[in-house]
């Protein structure tokens, strides 16, 4: 079975909604949740996720909320924290790893913390039995792939194209996937630009997909009530999970 990872923006529009949505996604076949920490300057994200980040902050999002939400959901659905490095650094990797351990969060996804800068945190993550997800990009050479996936844990986040989240771009990833498979048995999940239309094609040759903007677009749709949003996102998750496994 190929896996489905869902990104949602934490606390958008409030904690109880995020908790309800997380639990509904579990029922819809989502295997892991990427709980997004809103950040003021999300440079790896396209306009959809950027907007959700900025609205959440305008509504007063605080990191406390991430911890509170996680304490309610992480025992029910496999949860990873996704965020830019500055909040982790500013509040302290010690504090984040302590709370992650306490609530049962399984790892961190930090898109602006490449291998070279992440190395100093390897021992800390290992000690707490947490995974820091390794990224591979289609611009990476065979040699660089070997370096960055060397200590990969849980899954490898393969970026589907050179670009930001939620664009319509696509690239031939077969050589990159071959290069990854040659050096590690860690599962490979592909993310960026995955929706119900692209899921089938993007899932070829990998072990799972990561979906963000397609869900967040529904979160941002003001014509829907909160209940309708949860229903619509759950249905979409089901469709995508079926598609990648059909």
């Amino acid at each position: 079975m190929k896996k489905l990872v869902a990104y949602i923006t934490a606390g958008f529009p409030n904690n109880s909604f995020t908790i309800d949505l997380a639990l509904a996604l579990k029922e819809s076949g989502v295997d892991s949740l990427e709980l997004g920490i809103p950040f003021s300057d999300p440079v790896a994200d396209g306009p959809i996720i950027e907007e959700a980040n900025l609205i959440a902050l305008k509504n007063g999002f605080k990191i406390e909320q991430l911890f509170e939400i996680s304490s309610q959901i992480a025992t029910q659905i496999d949860t990873l924290w996704m965020g830019y490095f500055n909040p982790f650094y500013h509040k302290g990797m010690d504090l984040f790893t302590d709370y992650a351990k306490e609530y049962g969060v399984s790892g961190f996804i930090i898109p602006d913390l490449p291998h070279e800068e992440a190395k100093v945190y390897t021992d800390l993550m290992n000690k707490k039995d947490l995974s820091l997800i390794s990224f591979v990009a289609p611009t990476d050479s065979e040699q660089r792939i070997k370096q960055v996936v060397e200590n990969s844990k849980k899954f490898i986040y393969l970026v589907a194209y050179a670009g930001i989240t939620g664009s319509g771009a696509s690239e031939d990833l077969s050589q990159t996937i071959t290069n990854i498979r040659a050096v590690t048995s860690t599962p490979v999940y592909v993310g960026f630009g995955v929706d119900e239309k692209t899921a089938k094609e993007k899932a070829v040759g990998v072990d799972g997909v990561i979906v963000g903007s397609a869900f967040v677009k529904i979160l941002l749709d003001n014509s829907l009530s909160n209940n309708e949003k949860i229903k619509k996102i759950s249905n979409l998750a089901k469709v995508i999970k079926d598609t990648i496994n059909s």
């Binding site: 950040f39 300057d41 440079v43 650094y89 913390l113 070279e116 990009a137 670009g163 930001i164």
Partner: protein
């Protein structure tokens, strides 16, 4: 002929100045940065490359820039004040020193397109200029607020053939322009060269841009020795990201007895929340590919900066300055909007030099040096740019009858 020299403040092989600097970017960009780092190593001290640069700097930019003894201001202050005239460069500021070299590198690396972020528009103009010169496509990212307050420079960029993107997110200033430039760069990583305008961003940019701007201090040192037969007591420069300052400082940092002073934007006062004084009021953090001092809240969210001058309106600072501050190798102060505006008028009317709002911050500090310290001292102020671009904004702020 100017060739960069290795410095005791060079970063390590991953671009770290102490704990600052580094490369905090999406993985897609890492191969691009590693390639640039490798390429730069091959030309950093290469005579042929620098002799090509030298021709452009002499005949196109108009270097060396003069070191001007400002008699009227010197008499008023009881000190010897020299201005390093970066305002005389082609395009009106120090920014072109950097863009000409990065443009040549882009071309040699086979890139067809260059992009840039800009605040005051000076870096955007300097990039558009060299793109026209070298036959490169050019796209510039500028915050919507800066597009409004620097409309003359927006027109200049378009006249030079560049495409200007008005960035509407966040504070709509330099920080957001840089976010958008990075997004474009990630998307077009394979064929686009990002010409960063200051000593910030991921390695090797802070070191490269310092090397390119260090010609300011290299010339100034020879000039002051020729005129005064001694080194200055103070070298003063304004700080946005820190490129004109590091350029002015770097050849003096290792000299005993020379105090280098960087002037941050004090905005409405550093006791308010409207300023751009990242070193004074910020704390270490990661933004735009580097670790340095940042204005941020208790959750690590980046705060908006404020300054009368678009070029200083930035919540971060180059990592080498953060390092120099921690080592106490340079001194950092700040100047408010009002003090800068007063100095803008003062320099115009005593020396007939209209400085850029940014540079006016450095000039203003002359009046804040304690009397007993300034008396009989020898001072170089880096006049990083001229005020032409600020005329429309100044017209709204000042009136003369």
């Amino acid at each position: 002929m100017y060739i960069p020299k290795a410095s005791k403040f060079d970063p390590d092989s991953n671009g770290h100045f102490g704990k600052f600097g580094g490369r905090y970017v999406p993985e897609t960009l890492m191969p691009v940065l590693l390639e640039l780092d490798e390429y730069y190593k091959t030309i950093r001290f290469d005579e042929d490359f620098w002799s090509e640069v030298d021709t452009y700097l002499k005949d196109y930019v108009g270097r060396p820039s003069a070191l001007y003894y400002a008699k009227n201001i010197s008499d008023e202050l009881g000190a010897k004040i020299y201005f390093k005239r970066e305002d005389l460069n082609h395009t009106g500021a120090h920014k072109v020193n950097n863009t000409i070299v990065q443009g040549l590198i882009a071309k040699k690396m086979g890139k067809k397109r260059v992009i840039a972020e800009t605040g005051a528009g000076q870096h955007g103009v300097a990039t558009a200029t060299i793109a026209a010169l070298l036959g490169l496509e050019c796209e510039v990212f500028m915050g919507e607020k800066d597009v409004e307050r620097q409309e003359l420079n927006v027109f200049r960029m378009k006249l030079l053939g560049a495409k200007v993107h008005s960035v509407k997110s966040g504070s709509r200033t330099l920080k957001d322009a840089m976010n958008e430039a990075i997004r474009y760069w990630v998307t077009n990583a394979r064929d686009t060269f990002y010409i960063i305008g200051t000593v910030a961003g991921p390695h090797p940019y802070p070191m490269m841009v310092r090397d390119f701007q260090a010609i300011i201090g290299y010339e100034a040192k020879a000039q002051i020795l020729a005129k005064e037969n001694r080194l200055p007591d103070y070298v003063i420069a304004c700080i946005g990201g820190g490129s004109n300052a590091i350029g002015a400082f770097s050849h003096f940092l290792e000299d005993e007895g020379v105090t280098c002073i960087g002037i941050e934007a004090g905005g409405l006062g550093v006791e308010t929340d409207k300023h751009g004084a990242s070193l004074e009021k910020g704390s270490p953090g990661v933004l735009h590919g580097q670790m340095s001092y940042l204005l941020q809240d208790d959750d690590g969210q980046i705060l908006e900066a404020h300054s009368i001058s678009a070029g200083l309106d930035y919540p971060g600072i180059g990592p080498e300055h953060a390092y120099l501050k921690e080592l106490k190798e340079a001194q950092y102060e700040n100047i408010t909007d009002q003090e800068a505006l007063d100095a803008f008028v003062w320099l115009s009317q005593t020396e007939g030099l209209i400085p850029a709002f940014e540079s006016a911050h450095a000039v203003a500090y002359l009046k804040k040096i304690p009397k007993e310290k300034i008396k009989n001292s020898l001072i170089i102020v880096n006049l990083s740019g001229r005020g032409d671009k600020d005329m429309i904004q100044a017209k709204d702020l000042l009136s003369f009858d």
